[in-house]
Symmetry: C2
Subunit: 295 residues, 2 copies
Amino acid sequence: MDFTEEQSADVAAASFDNTADPRLKEVMQSAVRHLHSFVREVRPSTGEWEKAIEFLTAIGQACTDTRQEFILFSDTMGVSMLVETINGAGGELPEGDAARPTAPTVLGPFHLTQSPEHELGDLLNTTGQGVPLVVEGRVTDPAGKAIPGARLDTWQADGKGYYDVQLEGGLPEGTGRGLFTADDEGYYWYRSVLPRYYPIPVDGPAGDLVLRAGREPYRPAHLHFIVEAEGYQPVTTHAFVSDCEYIERDVVFAVKSSLIRDFVVVDDEAEAERFGVSAPFRHVRFDVVLAPEEG
Amino acid sequence: MDFTEEQSADVAAASFDNTADPRLKEVMQSAVRHLHSFVREVRPSTGEWEKAIEFLTAIGQACTDTRQEFILFSDTMGVSMLVETINGAGGELPEGDAARPTAPTVLGPFHLTQSPEHELGDLLNTTGQGVPLVVEGRVTDPAGKAIPGARLDTWQADGKGYYDVQLEGGLPEGTGRGLFTADDEGYYWYRSVLPRYYPIPVDGPAGDLVLRAGREPYRPAHLHFIVEAEGYQPVTTHAFVSDCEYIERDVVFAVKSSLIRDFVVVDDEAEAERFGVSAPFRHVRFDVVLAPEEG
């Protein structure tokens, strides 16, 4: 079989026919076919192909122990969110009156350090960089039954858009991070600061492409959560701040309408005193529904 | 528009709508659509997606000043050959009795140093590592008219499968490389050694994938050529040795039947003396047809 434009995908796919691992064979043959379809569609010049090689090489070379530029590229191409959506339980239709399990979204690149163990009600951020925030909610199954002892891992940027691991902000490690255990009613609460939107890194090839595409490099303000409980499927998700200016155009496509919450302004001294914060503060309710384990 | 599996490609493609450069917009929107089709087809688990990220990162990190692992990956996926085929003039049907222009094939990773200027008939390889070889041919247009002064850049592995830039062989730089100028009849000739097949590097992620796929990592024996002349489209091509055992299964898909030549064994002292080599030697005729420049 000669290598022609028409036969190239067949020839290259056939070279993987003897792959011992059936899944590797399936993935590589699919990759070959889609890659060749792409090339036949855009018909790159040799110079454009060279630029693509240089771009992918630069992405790989920008990766370090604390930076994963290929994940950032996957995120900004919508691939990470697609993989998350395919694997998440959140898309399943519930039966009867049951609630839909909380939708998953991307993990993101900032879950780099272990979140410190906290008691319910603890203050996650003591820096004063941001409006006081009270977060509360319940973890339940789709029927609304409490899941006592559910574990919540949360992490977030501060009021200036910085995570503790980004040394620009000079935040002590663990700031804005916490591991919580829900009580017997599945209830949890804690205090922190209102997170701000923030830009993805634009000093590397993935961020540079976003700018060249005329895209805004911002992630709308959000709280991260991983919620787990024995007998249930864990969920990696966000609670998005509804009045953030970038809520409609997340550069990594992670916003789902079911995850947007009003972070309500409360200017009431009695309420502030009840939660141990100063007024005015923001208050959000974020209930989490976990799907039972399959099988 | 919510990010669902069905809408993901539309949502991610739309994020490139404001790209100022129309070609970049076209390429990225096509890339998004094909990438999302691939992901929807293979439905990777989160762990598989992580493996893919690690694989691509390792390819980028394996690149150095003297090694381009992403080109190797492009080569072994058949993408380099597809791009070469799309851009080459060789596929065009000639008019009437005219000859088809010489088909293009991959540049490969070993065109790293400037080939030294040589006189017609010069010996390219003085190491004695390989059977003596005489190469001759004519450079013409499709009608058979000589192209006087055509420039031929040639480079090749030796009889053990090594290029000069691969220090394993310890070959002096420029060994097996030459720049020639065809004479008034478009004729060229030179002496060298018969090249051997050789493996692509398998100590990096691209070669490792080839082995895991049960593929043989070899390139069949060949001579490289870039042939250029004013008023004509240049061609990057190979002359393949017909009796090489890997001629039917080049790991980078570069073999085209029109580029295979018999490297004839000549065991004749008079002929050997005429060419200034020792008998027995190999002899190949490789004529090159250049297409006129377009426009």
